[in-house]
């Protein structure tokens, strides 16, 4: 039964998505990238978010996105200690617990920091720029879609949300060719 270990883990992942809805609300992550970048933005430019007691949220913004839906994002940026933000902050703690609980062999497989012995050391930019640019396009796309793998694909599809199905189809339509092209480029580049 050892090869069925994936099944138990998949059931655990599904149970967590269900438990989140049972206790509070569906899991979502990408909105908090907008919140945190908005916190930094409003720290630099204090005029971007202002209080407006006439609104239900109590806040308004000169930025159309922060101001959307009656200033919901403006409110979250001004008062970030809410469910969604704390939820995202707890993710790395939980992941670290799982990482620490696992054996060393699996840990070394999970790491991408290691280099092949004898391989030329890549420059700082070459190692970290692709991840940075990837993160940029992933979050730009996720915010445009108003959700990511967690919010649209997992939480959305489990509720039978039509937008979740469209997001998953669109994401895989470019992700599969991108992954195949990236491999070919890596082989040609002698990496």
């Amino acid at each position: 039964m050892k090869h069925q270990v994936w099944l138990i883990r998949a059931l655990a992942l599904g149970a967590v998505f269900f438990l989140a809805v049972l206790l509070a609300k569906p899991i979502g992550v990408s909105t908090q990238f907008s919140v945190l970048s908005g916190i930094l933005h409003s720290a630099v430019d204090e005029t971007v978010i202002t209080e407006n007691p006439e609104r239900g949220t109590g806040y308004e913004s000169t930025n159309a996105y922060y101001d959307r839906g009656g200033g919901k994002l403006a409110q979250a940026i001004a008062n970030p200690w809410n469910y969604e933000f704390v939820f995202v902050l707890a993710i790395p703690v939980g992941a670290y617990a799982a990482y620490a609980a696992n054996d060393k062999k699996r840990r070394s497989q999970m790491s991408d920091a290691g280099q092949l012995p004898g391989a030329p050391r890549q420059s700082f930019l070459r190692r970290y720029l692709p991840a940075f640019l990837g993160g940029f396009i992933i979050l730009y796309g996720a915010r445009m879609a108003d959700g990511c793998t967690s919010g649209h694909m997992m939480s959305g599809m489990m509720q039978g949300s039509v937008s979740g199905y469209f997001f998953a189809a669109a994401a895989f339509a470019t992700a599969i060719p991108s992954a195949l092209i990236a491999r070919r480029t890596a082989i040609r580049g002698g990496k």
Partner: protein, 187 residues
């Protein structure tokens, strides 16, 4: 109380993401190259199992329907998804998994992705007004449409309720079991 629930569910989510291997860009990329479909099986099974639990708890009224939350459908979901996929396929990470990976192996690349993500999210905030003005979010605006009638809050494609979601959940679980792979994890 909200904060305690947030901490509990965030911890569990981070733990589960690591457990299934989703924090590893290598595993995501090998799924997308269709080399090892274990992670695909995991995702499909997890969605199906969550749907089944949701249906079984909702039918006898054991779940507060007010907790459900569905996202709006519009053209931005498709164009955003297409953009998302380019990064997802090239780098092998997504918003949840790169946050989880900052503490669990491959930390430096994960932090690079998180920083890039913060800049990307901010860039979207700055350009949202323009996208909105050209009508990206008003084309295919079907509202918070769901397949089945799970709540009076959302319009649905079919009038069938949780029984429909239960059937789809079971179909997802069967598909996950049929998909090849599942022996790829040597741990």
């Amino acid at each position: 109380m909200d904060i305690v629930l947030a901490i509990i569910s965030g911890l569990l989510f981070g733990y589960a993401l690591y457990l299934v291997g989703a924090t590893s860009p290598k595993k995501i990329v090998s799924m997308l190259r269709l080399e090892d479909l274990t992670l695909m099986k995991t995702i499909v099974l997890a969605i199906g199992f969550a749907s089944i639990l949701l249906s079984l708890f909702s039918m006898p009224g054991l779940l507060n329907i007010g907790h459900l939350s569905v996202k709006t459908m519009n053209l931005g979901v498709i164009t955003g998804g297409l953009l998302f996929g380019i990064g997802f396929g090239t780098v092998g990470t997504c918003p949840g998994t790169c946050v989880a990976a900052t503490s669990s192996g491959g930390a430096r690349k994960a932090v690079s992705a998180v920083l890039g993500g913060l800049l990307g999210a901010w860039a979207f905030s700055m350009t949202y007004g323009w996208w909105s003005s050209v009508g990206l979010f008003s084309v295919m605006d079907w509202g918070k449409l769901t397949l089945f009638h799970i709540s009076d809050k959302f319009p649905s494609v079919f009038s069938l309720g949780y029984a429909g979601l239960l059937i789809v959940g079971i179909l997802f679980v069967i598909s996950a079991l049929i998909l090849p792979g599942g022996r790829g994890d040597p741990s």
